[in-house]
Chain length 229, copies 2
């Protein structure tokens, strides 16, 4: 059954050496081995220059076209936007927060997928859902105070941006957790691609959430109040 | 002068083994060595869980506060924004394009810094300046056509977004090239931190550029034309 490869004797010697070394010697030896491996790598495959201008332009243009989808949503809320400059003022902050939160969660999960041989996806999702709500609430309170100060204590604008921020940050963390797992386990694609996908999805979703919350609180609720008076 | 370390004999043996192997055997041996090194790594330092909720909240809140700086700029252009919904419609697309272009350039430079022992910073900057203009022009033409179609052939809106897009993409690529080099060579900080810094700078700069171009083309130039008539 066992097939003796020509290099198996050398492997045995290497393993013996490794186990015979003291902790300090091991460090020196490993440092040396790593350096030699890097040398071999460099000889085996020359550094691939993936700096092709056209592939860069293609990716950037594709992302641009996808992200420009938000213009349709914003146009359909043109009434809200031209009457409430508040929406535009905090739009880049809200959309940016979604991208940051999603990316941060994705990076943590991607590293988890790369280093841990086995972990329970269910417990990870449960824990990250909990994290998403806590992080969402804490970041939202910071954002609320920030808007509240600039809007000189006006509650409705601060509440509008705050609620939108909470929805964006929590959904972004959940997406950032799920997407790398879906990419690796279900679609069998490198989970590192999650970054730009999250960025684009959260751009569109962030604009949707902001407009929906703005429409509900600034237009519908105000109209309702006016009717009651 | 020469100090013989206890592990130096083993290092010699290892080097001899390495040079004695054929290409195919080398692959098998290296694969084995890598696996053993990973085992040692795992034993030496247990996986550090950097999933601290509070450090995540701190970073996200800091980015939020920095990105909210764009609200001051947008408020000072409130007249332009409430009269030209075009600015808001394409703002997330423009700001997003800046972030993407800057990040892409930074990732390429960071990998360059990590793999190449020596390369001419001057020639890299020259080449990336050239790339920035070419990529900026090509992405801008895609963006121009995209806006031109949605605005049903109106030239001034398409030109406004196009010029803003060109300025944002080129400046973002230049920033993405320079920042990792500055971080590593001058401030001596891990260049991997360039990502979020670029995101925040390009958010603010993107809003500035868009408002400035919008003010010049949509307000000042139109007013000038009206006067002439």
């Amino acid at each position: 059954m066992s097939q003796r490869h020509p290099s198996s004797k050398i492997i045995e010697t290497f393993d013996e050496q490794l186990s015979s070394l003291s902790s300090e010697e091991l460090q020196t030896f490993i440092k040396h081995v790593r350096r030699r491996l890097d040398d071999v790598d460099e000889k085996e495959k020359p550094v691939k220059e993936e700096n092709n201008i056209f592939s860069r332009v293609f990716l950037l243009s594709a992302l641009l076209i996808l992200q420009s989808g938000s213009s349709f949503i914003l146009q359909s809320f043109s009434d809200l936007i031209s009457r409430h400059i508040l929406i535009t003022m905090y739009l880049t902050m809200l959309v940016g927060a979604g991208g940051n939160a999603g990316n941060q969660a994705a990076v943590l999960v991607i590293r988890r997928l790369a280093t841990s041989k086995s972990f329970s996806v269910r417990s990870l999702i449960l824990r990250e859902t909990f994290s998403a709500v806590i992080i969402g609430a804490l970041v939202t309170s910071v954002g609320f105070v920030r808007v509240w100060i600039e809007e000189r204590g006006a509650i409705l604008p601060s509440l509008t941006i705050g609620i939108a921020l909470f929805c964006i940050v929590t959904s972004s963390i959940l997406l950032g957790t799920l997407l790398p797992i879906i990419l690796q386990r279900i679609i069998h694609v490198d989970p590192a691609h999650a970054g730009p996908i999250i960025q684009v999805i959260m751009d569109i979703l962030g604009v949707c959430i902001t407009c929906a919350v703005g429409q509900t609180l600034l237009v519908n609720l105000s109209a309702h109040k006016h009717k009651e008076l």
